[in-house]
Symmetry: C2
Subunit: 750 residues, 2 copies
């Protein structure tokens, strides 16, 4: 297909058969011959892209740099004749390599490398202190350390495209942006782009164990081949760094929050150093998780009490040791006193005591602590929804300046839909990071197509009303709590050794969207989806538009067939694969789906209003009022906050029961709709990726049905109500679904 498009209609590959070629060429003028050669080059570049293991596997992500049509390439080429940059600086060298790669593929040849501006049609990469920029009076100062300008400017030697920043990293970000403009086939004749990230720390959290098992990972093993490090650094580490830098991610936590202290031992620090060395040119700093009991496990101490002087000294020495090995080490991420992890509560100390001790050890080196607010306790009978706020709000103002509190988007645990976490806006003196889960632990693993940009957008644009109306979660994140206070966002990575990185082609979009939203939490999910689809599949809108439509409807489909109308936490035990709303016998109440849905003969839902647990009381009064009132709570959060009779009349008409059943079927209908859209793209995109998505959608359709049937069979066993007209009963009795076991499903933190 690509072949035909590039060669034009009357010409075919058979043209190239020796017996025919000579005759044809002999008849033609040399200009025409040259057109043929160009076509051949284009065809063969296209073939390079079609080669197995290359573009068609998805390995290249959104950095495919697909060859442009000759007409388009001819329009761009005069602007990219040469480039000027100080390639002795590693980050600028990385930018130049990316230009060589990207322009080489898109235009057919990379730019020449020049020592100075030498006529029109150059690219100049420079930082604010470069003599090249003197006299240009560029408004760089307001862009901060990582912002950039891209400008078409006249320099003494000629007209060039200037990519400028206050740091080398800024220039690198600008370079990736410039390449994106070409990939998206935007006009570049009069460039005037200025951009800067709205958050300082844009972090990927890898839940990767040292044996390369990825907890909640559905994309193969951990990228980090610890056994071969530091002696061997896989070229893939560089491609990982390129992908991150291209979307502005500047921090990576290499290992699991359920931590192993071995990562802090000298041999592993040498391995971490090797990775940090690969990532450094790409503006990415390395962080590690700190197991709170490390002083006992690898330090030989008898305690890990954060107020114990020996413990404090151990961490200080450990921080010194780390920085001696990795001078730009980022800091620690900590999960403490949560789901069995050790922490300061083991010694009757507060989370602030624990975080501050680590912060004090890191502060002399400029490191930070990211302390997770995801805590709930088996010794706490309160609604799990409330526990993090009860624990942390009283600590507001008690953390060191180099501590950020890392707060999940919702109060439970990355469900397909949750209301925003009540901590946002509730700790005005504490830097809060948003933590989202890119890996789809609760949204169908790798095979379900679920674009999470819309989910994160929903959270980011939620109004906390704190301190005032319009204080969205995005604004809370973006507004430093003090002039130089930290800001940030973290995403739990969905990356592994699978050739396509993320376990599926479409899960790449979630990595991409996370990076774009961490750079700009006010960005629109649909714009990000459009960019990703055009970069990853085709700049042709006849191809990209249906893909964007699929993405935009995808997450709501998952909500509908898994957890409609504000339900949540209905998945099977352990691996979280498949439905199990009936589970009610696990040791801790909040591990059970039954704890969350509270379905009985009368109704369903969790009363979190003042008549129930009053978790709503943790939100601003405006929020509590709207969500607490059945007349104003949106249907999508109905059962999250209310226990409602099965016969409750929905505001939109019909009973809750009828509506609940309809939502499940709506979810399936949407998956079928995605299948239909995808089928129209057969033959229009490369066959291997197309077939993979087709097969995954078929799996999704089947599993959506499983979720729907199992859930309805269970609800019906509780509600004792007939299915509404037009909705088929589950084909099997409830016991059939309850008997399904999938013991080897991936990701179960074993």
């Amino acid at each position: 297909m690509v072949l035909h498009r590039l060669l034009g209609s009357g010409t075919t590959w058979r043209l190239l058969q020796p017996s025919q070629r000579r005759q044809r060429i002999a008849r033609q003028e040399s200009e025409a011959v040259w057109r043929s050669i160009r076509s051949i080059i284009a065809v063969l570049l296209a073939l390079i892209f079609a080669a197995p293991g290359h573009a068609e596997t998805g390995y290249d992500l959104w950095l495919r740099y697909a060859p442009l049509a000759p007409s388009q390439a001819q329009r761009y080429a005069p602007h990219f004749r040469y480039l000027v940059a100080d390639t002795t600086r590693p980050t600028l060298a990385a930018a130049v390599q990316e230009l060589d790669r990207g322009l080489g593929r898109m235009l057919g040849s990379p730019p020449a490398h020049a020592g100075a501006v030498q006529g029109n049609g150059g690219i100049v990469l420079a930082t604010a202190d470069s003599p090249l920029l003197s006299g240009l009076d560029l408004p760089l100062a307001p862009l901060g350390r990582e912002g950039f300008l891209i400008r078409s400017v006249a320099m003494p030697g000629g007209r060039v495209i200037l990519v400028a920043g206050n740091s080398d990293a800024g220039v690198l970000y600008g370079t990736f942006r410039l390449l994106r403009l070409l990939q998206l086939q935007q006009p570049i004749d009069a460039l005037a782009v200025a951009d800067a990230p709205k958050l300082q720390l844009r972090v990927l959290d890898h839940w990767d164990n040292l044996d390369r098992y990825v907890e909640r990972g559905y994309a193969g093993q951990s990228l980090w081949d610890w056994q071969k490090l530091p002696g061997y650094t896989d070229p893939r580490y560089t491609d990982y760094a390129r992908a991150n830098a291209s979307i502005g991610i500047n921090a990576t936590v290499l290992n699991n929050v359920n931590a192993n202290a071995d990562i802090l031992t000298a041999p592993y620090l040498q391995k971490v150093k090797a990775l940090a060395g690969v990532f450094r040119p790409y503006g990415i700093r390395v962080y590690l998780t700190a197991r709170f009991s490390a002083p006992i496990e690898i330090g030989g101490l008898k305690t890990a009490d954060p107020l114990d002087p020996a413990v404090r000294a151990w961490w200080k020495a450990k921080a010194d040791e780390i920085y001696a090995v990795i001078p730009d080490f980022g800091g620690f991420l900590v999960k403490a006193n949560s789901e069995g992890q050790p922490g300061p509560s083991d010694y009757k100390r507060s989370h602030a005591d624990g975080a501050n001790m680590l912060a004090d050890a890191l502060a002399p080196h400029g490191g930070v602590v990211m302390w997770r607010a995801f805590v709930y306790s088996e010794h706490n009978d309160a609604d799990r929804h409330k526990q993090a706020s009860e624990e942390f709000v009283p600590l507001d103002g008690k953390f060191r300046d180099n501590v950020l509190l890392q707060v999940k988007n919702g109060a439970i645990d990355f469900q397909p839909r949750e209301p925003f976490h009540p901590l946002f806006g509730a700790m005005p003196k504490t830097p809060l990071m948003l933590e989202v889960q890119i890996t789809k632990e609760y949204l169908g693993f790798a095979t379900h197509l679920a674009y999470l940009g819309t989910m994160w957008e929903e959270v980011l644009e939620s109004d906390t009303f704190r301190p005032r109306a319009g204080s969205t979660v995005a604004k809370v994140l973006e507004t430093p709590v003090a002039p130089r206070a930290l800001t940030g966002m973290a995403g739990v990575a969905n990356i592994g050794t699978d050739i396509n990185w993320s376990g599926s082609q479409f899960d790449q979009a979630n990595w991409y969207a996370y990076g774009r939203l961490a750079w700009d939490p006010d960005a629109r999910a649909v714009d990000i989806a459009r960019d990703w689809a055009r970069l990853t599949w085709s700049a042709d809108s006849a191809i990209a538009d249906p893909i964007v439509a699929m993405m935009m409807e995808s997450r709501e489909a998952v909500v509908n067939y898994m957890t409609p109308l504000g339900l949540g936490h209905l998945m099977a035990t352990g691996h979280h694969y498949g439905p199990a709303p009936w589970v009610s016998d696990l040791a801790r109440p909040e591990w059970n789906p039954a704890y969350y849905h509270r379905a009985d003969a009368n109704g369903i839902g969790f009363d979190r209003t003042p008549t129930g647990t009053n978790a709503l009381g943790q939100y601003a009064p405006e929020v509590a009022k709207r969500w607490g009132d059945l007349k104003t709570v949106p249907d999508r959060l109905l059962l999250w906050f209310h226990h409602v009779p099965w016969d409750y009349r929905m505001r939109s008409g019909g009973t809750l029961w009828d509506r609940l059943v309809a939502q499940y079927d709506a979810g399936i209908t949407t998956v079928e709709d995605m299948q239909r859209r995808w089928s129209t793209l057969d033959g229009k995109i490369d066959a291997r990726r197309w077939a993979e998505v087709r097969d995954f959608l078929a799996i999704q359709r089947q599993e959506a049905q499983w979720w729907r049937d199992a859930s309805i069979a269970y609800w019906q066993s509780v509600s004792h109500r007939p299915l509404p007209a037009g909705h088929l009963p589950p084909p099997h009795p409830l016991g059939y679904y309850q008997a399904i076991r999938t013991p080897h499903a991936p990701g179960n933190g074993k």
Copy 2:
């Protein structure tokens, strides 16, 4: 480099810059222009090969089909103008696809597909029953079901290359052979090749768990993505099948010998069916391991006693169920009563009772049982070397016809060097398969370069003297115990999801060599190495020859720095990564290195002569005599069979102690030699693979030193002898080496 060679000296890539091209071309005649076009095509095909994720990663294995130099391609092209084959038959369609791929890449364009012979220069694929072959009187009958002929023949319509076999699989094997001839740039003008496998079952054993963990795997996860099966079959499964078919492997055991009965449940059989469907066109049958206690675990029975009628009925029904799903299912591989696995001994039944029960269940469907002889017991105080023979020799003649006994190459466990297993030749009424370990559990995991072809050759050419001199292990394998008795060989796979399949570029050679030796146990390791090097790296002997030299010396290097002079089993506990000759405190005696080396102040080595355990008595008298006498035992097996004083004078001169130290250093010297050879290839092969091997060799050098230093430090603590002149003492005290911990080393069967 490739670029320059293909374009010729005076021409450079810059030629292709638009501003220069037009002028040049205008000056030239169309013939000359055409030469340029051809060059460009060649260059771009070469670029395809250099594209990241493609050939340079190693993904293409020995099936790279690197573009031939134009002169070479022109010589071959007239022979491959078109092909004739019945592509409605899946295996012939696979052969045609391979020709399209291989010839397309090597020659620049695939052959035309024709319905009949249409002039000179065709390829004809046909089985014996094809009308195309009538009148040719080909000697196909002696070649058996899987053999093939490749002949240059004159047919009524023209001169063609004929690939003929008695089965479609035979034709496929012949097709791969033909492609190999081109890859090796052999003359093809008068082809007359006839070949057939010497063994019937050529099996890969995957020690893959259902959660994709590979026991003793160093190449990523299991290829089998069980969760996505059967809905999604990764295109990689096809490439796996192609690679296997290209070397004649015709059977794959999908799961670990430490088995999980879940593989035999209905949902998993659907997944297995999907894999079998991918492999079938490539002549590969699927086998599974059968957990002996499956009737209890998934069958709900109270016993797995092989003589219990309910158990026998359960297995019969299970076999019927499997064959209803997979009609060409191969059969079961069983590890029973070994290392904690359940088995017939749990019910006081013999291995024959267990194997025969399964054989009876499979027999109606034509399935076979591969029963492992690798057994040793904590209730048996005998030398572990003797236990398998003691257990199985008395059972000779007691197995059903469709049972093979699968015997490891040596009596212990895949050590860097072991004498051949005494069972070979000792069970004249029982089909014996040889089991070798392709994955390098004991030879340095993925990073040590160790070509195992030489190791397996050493075993295969060992003379068992049973029934007579010249009865090598190869002959024992090749000679059916009865006219239609089974023969076979099994290799424990080293394959995983790593992009290079085997964890390292050179470990691909072991997969390759295994297949070649299973096809022909009399093949020479050096010939196989030469073929592999030319296929995988370059047909240019200036490149291939040093690579072959590295391969041929590599395994002896590992023996020397790990287990010289007949030592064995000296590795660290559990993961088996690194040296630990000092370990002597594990629960079972035969788990301890000290059990094997028996070093004390007087000497070292395991007395297996009549003064010791007399394991030698299990061999033929000729063998026992030679190895039992210090005057005739080869140095390489000295300490395997003898406990020898440190001051023993070696026949080659010097004391044992001095020689032992020298062997360690010889091992390191050889690794340095490999590094030197490899460094000469810098720039001559693709950069990424070259750098990977360079880095792995550096790791090997470092770990060889670790093995040498740790071992010598320990031996010296026992021998209390000074190091011989010219050999450096270990840089650290013994305690340093004993304190090294690598808890997260891969492959440890967790």
